[in-house]
């Protein structure tokens, strides 16, 4: 086996593994594993509605932020 192939195999597999690790760390940092019960039971109540709610929340947050920024840059009257 040529050494380039070995190098590539190790490189790709380590990279993929690292990707998984990064995802796990991201989940941990954003607090997704903080509540074990929610992790298990929350799934029961998950669905399209909840996803929509989450999106709406994000949208609302962005809108309010934007509004605030506009206010900040508004010329003094």
């Amino acid at each position: 086996m040529s050494s380039t192939i070995v190098a590539m195999m190790i490189g790709v597999s380590t990279f993929l593994g690292a990707l998984g690790l990064w995802a796990l760390l991201w989940g941990l940092r954003s607090g997704q594993f903080d509540d074990q019960k929610k992790f298990l039971e929350g799934a029961k109540f998950d669905g399209e509605d909840e996803l929509n709610d989450a999106i709406n929340l994000e949208k609302r947050k962005r809108k309010i932020k934007k509004k605030k920024e506009q206010k900040r840059y508004a010329p003094p009257d």
């Binding site: 690790l21 941990l28 940092r29 929610k38 709610d53």
Partner: protein, 801 residues
């Protein structure tokens, strides 16, 4: 009468008392206006699939909450609880009334749909909520209003220091651990190729690739996960103290630097695998330490959270809510049934029973009338009472206990330092050995720099903490695991060791040795009567004696019915009376019977309950607080292990001695106040004894805090669970004997492990110093020694069975 289930809270009530609701052509029943209101609100908001989600869970009907919403928008409140982050407000609330995960879902859903709220998450386990909102579109009072409108209540708590810090540290350690484990697992399979290549030969370009791959994996482990050790070593040096961290850091980084040198020059072997393994193994132990501290803080918050922030004060015939901190002595405070008393005082009007169980541990309510003292922490059971404050909140009993608890949590461990000290000396010796070895080989034997460096690294690697470092954590880890299976919770690993060394066990009587509530031990029927009359009478009272009788009747009879009673009266500290149709029912103690003109002998040892109809005695019950099942056997086993048993109780001498004799206790102290209990422990300390204290009430908290090992019953007062080091989850005193057994076994195992690692080190270190061991073999044998220790620790499992 048919029982009907309330359509909101799912509790059962008689059809008669229910509110019938015919909206939408369907008939529904509600137990109260509150439930009805919430039901329709949820329907109109399209949230009625909440009822599908709760399954078989029952809810609490909503309580009427007086109008105190304005306080949420006050400036002082804002300063205390709200934090601001780029224009948004953030608050932490504890949500009251959550029974199941559907409740969490409902709360989150409603909050999410509220305009102005940008984030709301509720923890399923401890019901803590974090809410972020835009202060320009909604006020906090409106948010609380929203939560209340669906039948829950939220009150703020201050999460600042403790919880946040613990959470952050835990999360940080966990991610470091994950990185280390990931790198170790991957480096292992590369190392297998390396080892095979070492023995069978490998092309040098192949070897180089593997070297680089290992380098890539070892680097984050050393600098990210191992950062903790560098920091520890730095602080150690700064304070002129050599610690284990320094040894780990130098061993790992020397091996790392040399490996880089070997990789670049393509000479010799690399030791990246040793680097990651050293770091990872030792880090696991560190992580477990951080983990154990977190849960203690969680329940503390809920204790503090239940203390109301305001009390009802009567001023100039007007009732006003005043924050507890502003109450001054001589203010008149009014409390309603079920209220917890926050400030000490003297009753000025009203009388009634008080539940002092959280303070004294005694389950029998105490009757107090005008002029009597009431202590904060007690709960008024049935009457509205006005009392005059005699102290400020800060000096009241409850707040004193709370401060005491906070202090006891912040200061605790002492014994662990010894192990650190020993390993500190050990590290210092190993470091100097390796330096001497280097000097000896380089100058005296005149071998090259590389050879001398490899030999000295071998010394560090082979002695590296693994065996010694693992000796204690491995054994305790398995011990804790075994204990948990038996329902024993050790809050910190070090407590196993301390428990094993103890020589006195101090026990509280009520709730620890005994059940903590009276039980019928003798039943004498004097004349025949309708048992349902008695049942209805005792059912109508909440007094523990009545409860014991109704439990007893329920266990003996199947078809009990509650009859309609009228003119029910509680006769203070005596009993109850009521009428059923024309029959006059009386139930209570001997004095009550004599007052009603009956003749009764009064020489019973135990509490008695007499039942009479129309002044004719029908039945006599004798009640006693009985020892728990298995208490005698457990105490016997404990004494066999050479531990002396002492019983402390607030009860009188007669009762105390009787119980002590029954279960077999060496020494008894009776009629003690909480403070005196603590003094007993202090006295034992002065004699140089190591004391285990087992208790369950707030009255034991002081003694628990002073003892070397505090054991509490899982069902005990939350504060006593808080200060304790060991919790017996199933309230079983037999578990206490198991706990001692496990701790002794673990302690023995730790000693074995330390001996093993000492033997290992005395053999291998000289070998390494004389240059017979190359680092690769050193790392292998180091892992082998760890395996030995791990294997030996697993023997604990067999030893306990």
């Amino acid at each position: 009468m048919a029982k009907v289930v309330c359509d909101h809270c799912k509790l059962e009530f008689d059809e008669k008392v229910m509110i019938k609701d015919d909206t939408d052509g369907e008939t529904r029943y509600f137990c109260c206006k509150g439930c009805q209101g919430i039901y329709h609100l949820l329907r109109s908001e399209g949230l009625d699939d909440f009822y599908d989600k709760i399954g078989n869970n029952k809810l609490e009907p909503p309580k009427d909450i007086h109008d105190d919403l304005h306080k949420f928008d006050l400036d002082g409140f804002k300063k205390k609880y709200i934090t601001q982050k780029d224009g948004f407000y953030e608050i932490n609330l504890i949500i009251e009334g959550i029974h199941c995960s559907a409740c969490v879902w409902l709360n989150e859903k409603v909050l999410h749909q509220t305009e102005g709220i940008v984030e709301a998450t509720i923890n399923y386990t401890n019901n803590k909520a974090k809410i972020i909102w835009d202060p320009e579109s909604i006020k906090l009072s409106q948010i609380i209003q929203k939560i209340r409108s669906i039948g829950y209540n939220g009150y703020p708590y201050d999460p600042k220091i403790q919880e946040e810090q613990a959470n952050k540290a835990r999360r940080d350690y966990y991610s470091r651990l994950l990185v280390a484990i990931f790198a170790t697992m991957n480096i292992m399979w590369i190392a297998i190729a390396q080892y095979t290549g070492y023995f069978t030969g490998m092309r040098s370009d192949m070897k180089n690739i593997l070297n680089i791959a290992e380098f890539v994996l070892a680097t984050p482990t050393l600098f990210y996960t191992g950062w903790i050790y560098f920091k520890g070593a730095y602080f150690g040096i700064k304070n002129r103290f050599v610690n284990m961290d320094l040894l780990v850091a130098t061993g790992a980084s020397l091996a790392y630097i040399y490996s880089i040198y070997a990789m670049i020059t393509k000479t010799g072997e690399v030791y990246f695998d040793s680097v990651t393994m050293i770091i990872t193994f030792v880090f696991v132990g560190k992580y477990l330490e951080v983990l154990s501290k977190k849960s203690a803080i969680d329940s503390m918050d809920s204790v503090l959270g239940t203390i109301p922030t305001e009390v009802l004060v009567v001023k100039d015939n007007e009732k006003v809510l005043i924050p507890i901190e502003e109450i001054k002595p001589n203010d008149i405070i009014e409390i309603k049934p079920g209220d917890k008393i926050i400030i000490d005082g003297i009753i000025v009007s009203g009388e009634g029973n008080f539940d002092l169980s959280s303070l004294t541990g005694e389950s029998v309510p105490v009757y107090k009338k005008e002029g009597d003292d009431i202590i904060s922490g007690s709960i008024s059971l049935e009457s509205v009472i006005r009392y005059k404050a005699t102290k400020e909140y800060a000096n009241s009993m409850l707040s004193t206990i709370v401060t005491m608890l906070e202090e006891s949590i912040s200061k605790k461990p002492h014994i662990e330092k010894l192990a650190d000290k020993i390993s500190g000396y050990f590290s210092l010796i190993i470091l100097s050995f390796s330096i001497l070895t280097f000097l000896f080989w380089y100058f005296y034997l005149g071998s090259g720099f590389e050879r001398a460096l490899i030999v000295s690294i071998s010394v560090i690697v082979i002695a590296c903490p693994c065996a010694l470092g693992l000796a204690t954590p491995m054994a305790t880890l398995i011990g804790i695991g075994e204990a948990t299976k038996k329902g024993i919770l050790f809050k910190e690993a070090g407590f196993l060791e301390k428990m094993a060394k103890s020589d006195i066990l101090v026990l509280d009587k009520t709730g620890t040795i005994t059940e903590g509530k009276p039980k019928v031990v003798k039943y004498e029927m004097i004349e025949n009567f309708d048992i349902n009359l008695l049942y209805s009478l005792v059912k109508s009272s909440k007094h523990p004696v009545s409860k014991a009788i109704s439990d007893y009747l329920e266990s003996k009879n199947d078809n009990l019915k509650e009859l309609n009673l009228h003119d029910r009266k509680n006769i203070e500290a005596r009993g109850v009376s009521a009428y059923c149709k024309t029959q006059k029912l009386i139930g209570g103690n001997g004095e009550l019977m004599i007052e009603n003109g009956m003749d009764i002998e009064q020489n019973y040892d135990n509490t008695i309950f007499i039942f009479a109809i129309d002044n004719h005695i029908k039945a006599i019950f004798e009640l006693k607080d009985t020892p728990k099942e298995g208490a005698k056997k457990a105490l016997q086993e404990i004494r066999k292990r050479g531990i002396k048993t002492i019983m402390l109780t607030g009860d009188n001498e007669k009762v105390a001695k009787k119980i002590a004799k029954e279960v077999g206790i060496d020494e008894v102290y009776h009629s003690l106040f909480p403070k005196e209990k603590a003094e007993v422990i202090e006295k034992l300390h002065k004699k140089g004894k190591i004391v285990i204290m087992a208790g369950d009430g707030i009255n034991d908290v002081l003694a628990l805090g002073l003892s070397d090992i505090a054991v509490s019953m899982g069902s005990g007062a939350e504060v006593s669970v808080e200060v304790s080091d060991v919790v017996l989850l199933n309230d079983d005193i037999g578990a206490l004997s198991d706990a001692i057994k496990i701790s002794k076994r673990v302690y023995l195992n730790i000693k074995e492990n330390l001996l093993l690692s000492a033997v290992y080190n005395t053999i291998t270190i000289p070998l390494a110093m004389s240059g017979y061991v190359i680092p690769l073999i050193a790392a292998l044998s180091m892992s082998l020694s760890s395996l030995l220790v791990v294997g030996n620790s697993y023997r604990i499992k067999r030893g306990i069975k």
